[in-house]
Symmetry: C2
Subunit: 505 residues, 2 copies
Amino acid sequence: MLEKISLKKIKKTEASDSLREMREQLIDLANRAKADKLPVIITVDGWSAAGKGVQIASLIKYMDPRFYDVESVRKPNAIELRKPWLHRYWQKLPKQGNFLILDGSWYRDTVNALNHGEIDKAEYKRRINDINTFERQLADDGYLIIKLFLHITEGEQLRRLEKLAGSEITRWRVDEQDMKNNKNYDSIFKRYDKTFTRTNTAFAPWHIIPANDKFTAQYNIMKCVTEAVRGACEAKENGGRFCQIPQFDTCGYSPEEFNLVKTKKLAKINMDKSLTDEEYGRKLEKYQSRLFALQNICYQRKIPVVIAYEGWDAGGKGGNIKRVANALDPRGYEVKPIAAPEPSEAARHYLWRFWTRLEKDGHFTIFDRTWYGRVMVEPIEGFTPKERTEMAYQEINEFEKQLTEWGAVVIKFWINIDKDEQYRRFKERENTPSKQWKITEEDWRNREKWDEYEKAVDRMVELTSTDFAPWTIIEGNDKKYARIKALKTICKSIEERLFDKKGGE
Amino acid sequence: MLEKISLKKIKKTEASDSLREMREQLIDLANRAKADKLPVIITVDGWSAAGKGVQIASLIKYMDPRFYDVESVRKPNAIELRKPWLHRYWQKLPKQGNFLILDGSWYRDTVNALNHGEIDKAEYKRRINDINTFERQLADDGYLIIKLFLHITEGEQLRRLEKLAGSEITRWRVDEQDMKNNKNYDSIFKRYDKTFTRTNTAFAPWHIIPANDKFTAQYNIMKCVTEAVRGACEAKENGGRFCQIPQFDTCGYSPEEFNLVKTKKLAKINMDKSLTDEEYGRKLEKYQSRLFALQNICYQRKIPVVIAYEGWDAGGKGGNIKRVANALDPRGYEVKPIAAPEPSEAARHYLWRFWTRLEKDGHFTIFDRTWYGRVMVEPIEGFTPKERTEMAYQEINEFEKQLTEWGAVVIKFWINIDKDEQYRRFKERENTPSKQWKITEEDWRNREKWDEYEKAVDRMVELTSTDFAPWTIIEGNDKKYARIKALKTICKSIEERLFDKKGGE
């Protein structure tokens, strides 16, 4: 793509009125984006010394600083390296109506990281795939992603680097790597080019900005940004979907397909399983000490464990989680109770609050209720349009795939009880003073929708039982049985990862 | 204090029933704390090898893991070192109804940091003072703080360290520093002792736990925690205030007194100041480029700048902030718009959301509305009882003092307009389509309370204009004048810090 870029200068004398006009428009457009609740992400990548900082400053000069956030992307720090690599970008996601402007982006951790030897080619390819998934997920959620690359020629880069290095004030901005990269301009050129080709999608196309001339770059960036924001606002106001006009042919992207494992419908589950007190006591000790030993290995090898708990109200999630937690060193896990999203959460992609709650590697993150609310509560209660929640099965499989790539063991439980058992437990809660806080009118209302929920659960289990993150249905009428099954499943899943079987170590 | 601790063993045979009983009670007490919205912080400090991890595990074994969070306190990491030292503890504050259990605490960064040569004696003393302030602020807000120190004797410590070092599995847990500390047991003993004496306050007294014997420690911890939580719940249910029974005489603590500078009442401000367009254009350029140069120095010297904007509705905060932001490198500042608190914010100390929004040193944090909502909006709208908001003047001065100690330049603006000017601007907003989102019914309602607000502002300015963080009243009827005054004040305040005058460098 890069070789097709015209480096023709735009003359300041001819275009400065038009630039001024666009700047005025951008002020109104930012207000319009606010009113339309349009979230905008602008990534600014480019060659060293291409002028990213100056261009960003000039872009935002007329915008209200309360509506945007500018962030520099550098090498990931020690803590960022212990999370999934896209974690730090998820964390920065802007709210609806706000702009996030990134100086550098996830492409830094991909193409630059490869150039600098931080990652190998296989990891590079995985990341290209993750990027396409990430950008598609955001675009599907209504994010406008404007990807800019500031392109300068080899000679121009050398001239600028030498000028920077020649002045005492700016010398610190040039390092050895920059000069080395200039010598390898051609090979880096090819790598950028390949990366652009592979990530030039219809939902997030590249805008290559000729930047040998500062004014030309300024003009093109402003044009590109105002057009995209205007288009996205118009589309949003008309209930449609906006696509930026790609500068080049887009790549043939299609979402990854996953292997699903066979599952059973809830109605087919044998709910009679139980344990005696004696069996329970014995097995509890056995699996808890096994889990404790496994946690130690995970901690040392920095393997993250993510456990997702779902289940019927009064299914016994709390008590079950407690038995798991009791087995663990308390400094190595956190339980995340998930309730209705807060305003700042509802104003972002629904997966944001789960991404940002992940503990670092070597630790356990236990979710009490999860991202699966998206395909159960939301469509049934009508919080989100069905065509949007329907996308969640794919999105969730992708999310869990990325957790697995990070190295995580992902374990998902549906704690199943039957309708009679739920009734009994609701009544018991109502009649026990210390448990009354656990039962609300909403629980009774949800119970009336049992059949609807059952269908949704069956479908969820069917569509999201991937080979890397399958569901485990736990027969929960007997709490003792349920706890042991959960503990045993966790132990086995970790052991499978640690001691091969599925091709682990 | 330490030398008075009885190391007498409690016999397992005699007390294990009683321990079991307390454990059962703790389950109910945790539920009760949840219902009462009582936030609890338990800090567990102690000698190396005193068994902190084991004791924490045993304490929480019976609690619901959704209600507590256990965190290990280690040496601060690179990012934590660029924030105020208490920042990482503020960040971890539990919500009302939840428990935070810390393995190590802010005392690690004080007494241990001094022992390890990370800080000097003057800094140690400042931190002791900060700690007393921090703990009092939390206690005043209803937090229950239980401070435990696990005490073992020199011989017992040596025995344990040698045992740990002797086994291949546990060897990694003992480092050189531990052995060195054991040799210096006596001098460290004295330092701990002094620290306890200085921080043994009525609102957060120390509990020294004899820990040579594991069971004795377990028993005493459980006794101490259940008594405190029960007491705090009872007090909260009866609308009273709870104090733990101190093991030793408490220290004579009284809040720091600050020097206030003389201020003017709003009614005495001359509101006729204005600038011509020509003066404005010239001065804008002058101060913006001066500020840009100053930002560069702050960035290099890692000096944080905190700017707080308050003012009447339609006072022109947005446009003012924009002129400041325009002068700055966008990668070096963030504007934080402050609205009504979200549920997770309202469930914590009101300063929490400001502490957690601070950018790292070398950066500018610009607050659009601030912590001063506590003494304006809250008492007038009646969100918080008056006796509680009255404490805020002291709390805020302490907060800003701590920012100053961190090295920050703290600048506070009240943008003042008169009542007629506000009316004109409200009307203009209503009549301009692109500005209509800026004006709501609430603005008109607030306007009716002008006199009440004016009184509150006068009082706020009087009581929180400290010599380290004075208010600047900005005459805002003329927006041009207001913007230049803000820019000029920011430049001057930074220059004062950089180039002495008030004893800067």
